[in-house]
């Protein structure tokens, strides 16, 4: 539903832009652009509305932060949380592309994710990702043909059973970091997206992790470590990103968010933000 509404809205906006370029005089272009930007901002508002509110995030995660920095007005990254059967479901996702195409994919992702989680009774994230992949492939009519678009979603999903102190993780290209006693534990993802794969789709793996109080869990898109910048205009990279998290993990969540934001902004300097940035952190209480 969200997907179709958003899609229709954006398509109308793009069609309007095309007509403007071809048929209208150059003097009208600025006016039209303003309208388009206005429309995109509105689309961005809709997209934000689809993301869980602070109240919901607090209810599900407790102590948390999100660093959500879309490259454009609308974003291809999204995060999503829910409570199901006494379990907490947490997703940090990065859809192919950014801007309008990424946003369209993110709407598709949220919509499908909600469908899968509501309709299915499994508490295993890998099975949810398997099903999510089916929905995405079906929605995008992906059949693995050579010449078709390979759009998909990279994401990490955690399902936490607080009663049993268990965290299940399944990842599509996006890893999971847990910092415990000053040590960063990385759980590697399956190297395939939620969507058609280059080769045959394989089932996602399920990782069961025992969690402890005060563990800090981080889920993120590749926007932060892949951001170009610094003195030599290079990627921030994962090693420094891990070190950064290790440095700040004992601080309160909002301070961590602020340090991450400042760090990436400083790193970017005058460079353009190349992708949407999403880092989601929360503490096990």
């Amino acid at each position: 539903m969200y997907f179709s509404a958003f899609n229709s809205f954006t398509m109308r906006a793009l069609a309007g832009l095309e007509k403007t370029v071809i048929r209208e005089s150059p003097t009208c272009i600025n006016t039209r652009n303003r309208e388009i930007i206005k429309s995109l901002r509105y689309a961005g508002m809709i997209q934000k509305a689809l993301l869980p509110s602070d109240n919901v995030m607090k209810r599900v995660l407790g102590d948390y932060f999100t660093l959500f920095m879309p490259k454009d007005v609308v974003s291809g990254d999204f995060y999503w949380v829910a409570s199901k059967n006494g379990h907490s479901v947490i997703v940090a996702a990065d859809c192919t592309g950014h801007g309008v195409p990424g946003a369209l994919m993110s709407i598709l992702g949220i919509s499908c994710l909600k469908e899968v989680i509501v309709s299915d009774c499994t508490n295993r994230p890998n099975r949810i990702l398997n099903q999510l992949r089916e929905k995405v492939m079906e929605a995008l009519s992906q059949t693995g043909d050579f010449d078709e678009a390979k759009d998909g979603i990279d994401l990490s999903m955690c399902i936490i059973n607080h009663d049993r102190s268990e965290l299940q993780y399944s990842g599509a290209n996006n890893p999971l970091y847990i910092i415990r006693d000053g040590e960063l534990l990385e759980t590697k993802p399956d190297k395939m997206p939620v969507g058609v794969n280059a080769i045959d789709e394989e089932p996602f793996s399920n990782h069961l992790i025992r969690i402890r109080k005060n563990d800090k869990v981080y889920m993120f898109s590749d926007g932060f470590p892949d951001q170009f910048g610094g003195p030599r205009g290079k990627k921030f990279k994962y090693r420094p990103f891990k070190n950064l998290l290790l440095d700040i993990h004992l601080k309160n969540m909002q301070d961590q968010r602020e340090i991450l934001r400042e760090t990436v902004t400083d790193w970017m300097g005058d460079n353009e933000q190349i992708d949407d940035i999403l880092v989601l952190g929360f503490a096990i209480t």
Binding site: C112, E115, R127, N130, Q131, R133, E134, K135, V136, M137, E138, A139, L140, S141, Q142, T143, G144, V196, D200, E201, E202, P203, N206
Partner: protein, 782 residues
């Protein structure tokens, strides 16, 4: 009141059928070859109701027939007729608890019969009652004899004591006389020595006298005691003698009555054999005399029986030291209560009134005539040919004969036209055959008047019947035997159903529709189905068209115990033991379902799994191999969900045990309810058979994860957001082909269990563990 089962002994070729349960849905079919004894079963049941048999039904060893039938009241109200009717305490409660009662009819050498309330528990109540009475009589008579014996012993002792006392008195008198003599001698004697001797003698005699006197005293005391006791017991002794006399007289009266009964029968038989008038006159006189004697003895016997009954009870009380007035009061009351309890035979007669009537449907006794005079209708002239069929016709049409007294010809004609349409529409609901391609037959009657060609009846009204089709208008007699039979059958059954809306009956039909086309035979089944609410139907058949393969629980297979058919006895197999019947007996079933499954060695008697279709069969076969399930599990495919019930019927009937696997889809929703009902009908066969409902799994393909389904079954990389079976349906793919290909891949080793993802393995493990568990518990029951 439902007729629930029967047991027949010594009837034609039947020695003992054992108990056979009738179908719970009121339609029972007896199948079997000619001469197997099917009709004998129907006749025996009819005789049970009628009470009459001919010598033809007796077996060569002249053992007498016994037919027992069980009946089940729908609720306790249907047993109200038996309340306060003198049944022994606990009998009615037992019947209510059991939910059924048994009536047993026994025939005697004179071919008369008696009906008894039967059943082990009920019989034991009656027997206990009789035993109590017998024991009371025996104990009382024994007590009476003891009392008499003691009385005689006391009398004898008293007499002896009297004699003894007399003797002692004599002795005393003699001693006294000798004392007087000694006393004189002492006075006369002067010698001291002599005087001493006489004095000693005197002392001895006095001592003797006092000793004897003491004995006399003792004897007199004892005698007094005895006399008191004898005086006290003389009344009891008289009563004891009277009690014994009455019991002896009763015993003699019973013997006399039995002899008189035998004599009466013998006189009756002699009279029936008499041919000469003189012999007949003599015989009649003897019969009169014998009958009078029997009545007189019977009367005397009854009086004696009552007297003895009361006396025994009174005397029993007296023995317990109860005062005579009280004993008489209690004894009479007890006997009155005992005498008010009806016998098992009387109870049988009482319950017999509560059972539905049994009727033997007679094929052509009620054929619709070509015409019927109204005069015969008004006069209720039942001897006129076709009267019964005409009466049935009026009932089916809902018409009172008085209607034909209507003088307004227009009203008459209009009403008749309407009725013709109504009856035809109803008839056509059951008779689906067409004459030619589309031409349906119609039942038609008209009011006519005799014309000049019938001068003797000229002007008189009559009704004329026709069986019409588009091309022809023929009298009933001109129509085929099949149509006439069906019409007769239709009218008879519908008339009964209309006339007896709230009554039940048992209809026995021998070979219905022998002359009917297969389609019409199926129509007969349709009529049965329509009427089964109020009419219990038991019919014999050879025809596969009169057997509903979906309801094999209705069958009772009748056959001879061995191939020597003339001499062997009839045996009956109920639905759960059809596998024991021969294939010849089961030919109607085999004709419908192919050869007998029991002869298929591939099937196990217990570990059968009925699956809804051939696709599921392929998947299960393939998966069973991959998962290394025990090889003795047989998967049996049904021909779609509707065929599952047929297979269930078939396997149950043929003695197999099975587990039905049904997936959670719309097509199976109805089947699940039906199956539960079917398993209830197969009450005996129920244990050991199971239903595994795979909740939330729409089909066998959904046991595989979507990914495995794509990889190993459809072999396509495509997004499937719904169920796997839904994808097949939505894309119009051949399920059986996919399933067969999967089975082939598993057989050839192209797919192994390691190729499945954890979701698939988890599903398969859970599902097949449940299945094996069901099979295991089923085995344990068996």
């Amino acid at each position: 009141m439902r007729f629930t089962g029967f047991k027949i002994k010594n009837f034609r070729s039947i020695v003992d059928t054992g108990w056979n349960t009738l179908s719970a849905d009121n339609i029972t079919a007896l199948i079997g070859q000619n001469e197997s004894g099917k009709t004998s079963v129907l006749e025996a049941l009819h005789c049970f109701y009628q009470g009459k048999i001919s010598e033809d039904v007796l077996r060569s060893d002249l053992s007498l027939p016994e037919v027992s039938c069980s009946f089940s009241p729908e609720d306790d109200h249907q047993l109200e007729f038996a309340e306060n009717c003198g049944l022994p305490g606990g009998v009615l409660d037992q019947i209510k608890k059991d939910g059924e009662f048994i009536l047993e009819r026994k025939w005697f050498p004179d071919l008369s019969s008696r009906i008894y309330l039967a059943g082990d528990k009920i019989v034991s109540v009656f027997e206990a009652l009789e035993e109590d009475n017998r024991m009371l009589t025996m104990k009382t008579v024994s007590g009476a004899e003891k009392i008499i014996k003691q009385y005689i012993e006391k009398t004898n002792e008293a007499r002896l004591l009297e004699e003894n006392i007399e003797s002692l008195n004599k002795e005393v008198r003699a001693i006294n006389s000798s004392l007087a003599s000694l006393d004189k001698q002492l006075k006369r004697s002067g010698k001291s020595g002599e005087r001493e001797i006489i004095k000693r003698k005197l002392e001895d005699a006095e001592n003797n006298t006092s000793m004897i006197s003491a004995k006399i005293k003792e004897s007199e005391n004892r005698l007094y005691e005895l006399q008191l006791s004898i005086a006290g017991e003389s009344f009891l002794k008289e009563k004891a003698e009277s009690c014994i006399d009455l019991c002896n007289n009763l015993s003699k009266a019973e013997t006399d009555l039995e002899d008189a009964g035998k004599h009466l029968k013998s006189v009756e038989e002699n009279l029936s054999l008499s041919r000469q008038r003189k012999d007949k006159r003599t015989g009649e006189a003897k019969l009169y005399e014998a009958r009078n004697r029997y009545i007189s003895l019977s009367h005397s016997h009854d009086i004696l029986k009552d007297k003895a009954g009361v006396h025994v009870r009174v005397f029993s009380k007296l023995m317990d030291n109860i005062e005579i007035q009280e004993a008489e009061k209690e004894g009479e009351a007890e006997y009155k209560q005992y005498n008010s309890i009806i016998t098992r035979e009387a109870a049988g007669a009482l319950f017999f009134k509560g059972i539905p009537p049994f009727e033997f449907f007679e094929d052509f006794s009620s054929l619709l005539p070509n015409k019927m005079d109204l005069e015969d209708i008004f006069d209720n002239n039942s001897r006129v040919e076709g009267y019964k069929a005409f009466r049935n016709f009026l009932i089916v049409a809902g018409l009172d004969p008085e209607f034909f007294r209507q003088t307004n010809n227009r009203i008459l004609k209009q009403k008749i036209e309407n009725l013709n349409n109504e009856v035809t529409v109803d008839f056509q609901e059951y008779w689906r055959q067409n004459v030619g391609r589309t031409n349906k037959i119609r039942i038609h009657f008209e009011l006519e008047h005799y014309d000049i060609t019938h001068p003797e009846n000229r002007g008189r009204p009559y009704l004329e019947f026709w069986i019409k089709d588009q091309h022809e208008r023929l009298y009933p007699n001109q129509r085929s035997r099949g149509v006439r039979w069906f019409l007769s059958f239709y009218l008879e059954l519908k008339a009964f159903a209309r006339e007896n809306i709230n009554k039940q009956r048992v209809l026995l039909i021998d070979e219905p529709g022998l002359s009917l086309h297969a389609r019409a035979q199926e129509d007969v089944l349709k009529v049965f189905e329509d009427l089964k609410g109020k009419i219990q139907i038991i019919y014999t058949t050879h025809s596969p068209h009169l057997v509903d393969t979906g309801k094999l629980y209705r069958l009772l297979a009748v056959q001879r115990s061995n191939d020597n058919r003339e001499q062997s006895e009839t045996i009956i197999f109920d639905a759960s033991h059809l596998h024991s019947a021969t294939s010849d007996t089961l030919s109607p079933v085999c004709a419908l379902l192919g050869s007998g499954l029991t002869r298929q060695e591939a099937l196990d008697r217990k570990k059968n799994v009925i699956v809804e279709d051939v696709s599921t069969f392929y998947y299960f076969s393939g998966l069973a191999k991959l998962l290394k399930l025990p090889s003795d599990i047989s998967f049996i495919p049904a021909n779609g969900p509707a065929g599952v019930t047929t297979l269930v019927s078939l396997l149950t009937g043929w003695g197999f045990r099975y587990t039905v696997v049904l997936f959670d889809n719309m097509a199976n929703d109805v089947i699940i309810t039906e199956l539960q009902s079917y398993l209830q009908n197969f009450e005996k066969a129920g244990p050991g058979s199971r239903l595994l409902f795979a909740e939330s799994i729409p089909g066998a393909e959904d046991l595989l994860s979507t990914l495995d389904f794509k990889k190993h079954i459809i072999k396509k990389r495509v997004g499937i957001s719904g169920s796997n079976t839904g994808y097949i349906t939505d894309n119009n793919i051949s399920r059986p082909l996919l399933a067969a290909s999967f089975a082939q891949s598993t057989a050839s080793g192209n797919i192994t269990v390691d190729d499945f993802d954890e979701e698939t393995l988890d599903n398969l493990n859970r599902f097949f563990t449940s299945l094996q568990e069901m099979i295991r518990t089923s085995d344990e029951i068996l």
